[in-house]
């Protein structure tokens, strides 16, 4: 009797599960960003946050996280992307509260927690930065497959670094990567899809 009931429940649930999977796949196909299939769990990390607390990616489960790597002295890529993200978050309205931007420095020498906090607050005070030792940050980049190369000039130094942003869903899965140069509307489009899932 119980086995028959379970069988019936399974028969009823199976199409529902299939439909859910299909709907999710269709949503992925409509993302503007590059899409991973299947998505993997975004590697967690533990760094020093720009708010003075420990920064762990897993703290933001249930939110959509946009992860960016850069450095506060970056002359072009970082400020352009952060400005676009700040505008996108505003455009999302109340839904923007379910989006967390996490900015991890590749320049631990200059970017301490306080410098990151001041820099990010100029774009959006809810943005959070992460810093740590050079080894800690290199380990995080390795987990994501990201390159950052220091380039020296006679007076200073800079970094050549990945200009992509990484979109992580509410379940902590690394779903997509957005190339540099996309508009706030593109972010609103993709984040909107991830927020609905």
């Amino acid at each position: 009797m119980l086995a028959r009931l379970l069988n019936r429940a399974l028969v009823m649930l199976l199409p529902l599960l299939c439909l859910t999977a299909l709907a999710s796949a269709a949503d992925d196909a409509s993302l503007i960003a590059g899409v991973f299939s299947p998505p993997r769990a975004a590697p967690d990390f533990s760094l020093r946050g720009s708010d003075g607390n420990e920064l762990q990616l897993s703290h933001y489960r249930a939110k959509v996280v946009i992860l960016e790597f850069g450095f506060t002295s970056c002359p072009d890529v970082c400020p352009t992307t952060l400005a676009a993200l700040a505008r996108a978050r505003k455009q999302l309205g109340p839904e923007g509260n379910d989006v967390q931007i996490v900015y991890i420095t590749v320049d631990p020498e200059r970017d301490d927690a306080e410098r990151l906090r001041k820099y990010l607050a100029a774009f959006d005070p809810t943005f959070i930065g992460g810093t740590g030792t050079a080894e800690q940050l290199a380990a995080v980049r390795r987990e994501y497959g990201i390159a950052a190369t220091r380039t020296n000039s006679s007076t200073s130094y800079a970094f050549s670094h990945s200009s992509y942003t990484y979109l992580i869903d509410r379940e902590g899965k690394l779903r997509a990567l957005m190339p540099y140069g996309h508009t706030p509307d593109d972010y609103v489009h993709d984040v909107g899809i991830l927020l609905k899932q």
């Binding site: 899409v35 991973f36 299939s37 390159a147 990945s162 992509y164 990567l177 190339p179 140069g181």
Partner: protein, 161 residues
């Protein structure tokens, strides 16, 4: 009266070279079509695969090249790069790490030359050249000739499997 011999000469010429003339007209027709017909594509995906065992073969000293050193994409026609990692180890591709069995569908929106890190290459580097949509007749003709040549040559990732 004078027109009769020249007309005969033309007829004679056509009779003699009809095969060559037919071929020339056909070739010109094909070129005109290739330059004028709008370019459409059923799929905008350009698909590549890193086959299983790539890393093991390289570790064993086999200097195989799986992917081309340069991948050409065209905006609006074929501008989505799809890469499948069927190997047993993670591979770095561009700005990310792809796990075994994982695929990445990466659309491009800007015409440019992109330098990508790629562990499937012996050099560790590759170029993705994204070209603008072939809007002019000359660009359409060039695009079609290149596609024809490309389809005639086996791809590295297909040859390696």
């Amino acid at each position: 009266m004078a027109a009769e011999p020249s007309r005969n000469a033309v007829v004679k010429f056509f009779r003699r070279y009809w095969a060559v003339i037919s071929i020339a007209v056909a070739v010109l027709g094909v070129i005109a079509w290739a330059a004028a017909a709008p370019i459409t594509s059923a799929s905008r995906d350009e698909i590549f695969e890193i086959p299983k065992g790539t890393w093991a073969r390289r570790m064993a000293g086999d200097n195989i090249e799986i992917l081309p050193n340069e991948i050409r994409l065209t905006l609006g026609v074929r501008d989505i790069l799809v890469l499948e990692n069927q190997d047993d180890v993670p591979q770095i591709f561009g700005p990310t790490l792809m796990m075994p069995g994982q695929g990445l569908r990466l659309p491009f929106a800007l015409a440019s030359s992109y330098q990508f890190a790629c562990t499937a290459h012996a050099s560790g580097q590759m170029t993705i050249l994204v070209e603008p949509f072939p809007a002019s007749a000359w660009a359409r003709l060039r695009w079609r000739v290149r596609e024809l040549l490309k389809s005639a040559m086996p791809r590295r990732d297909e040859a390696a499997t």
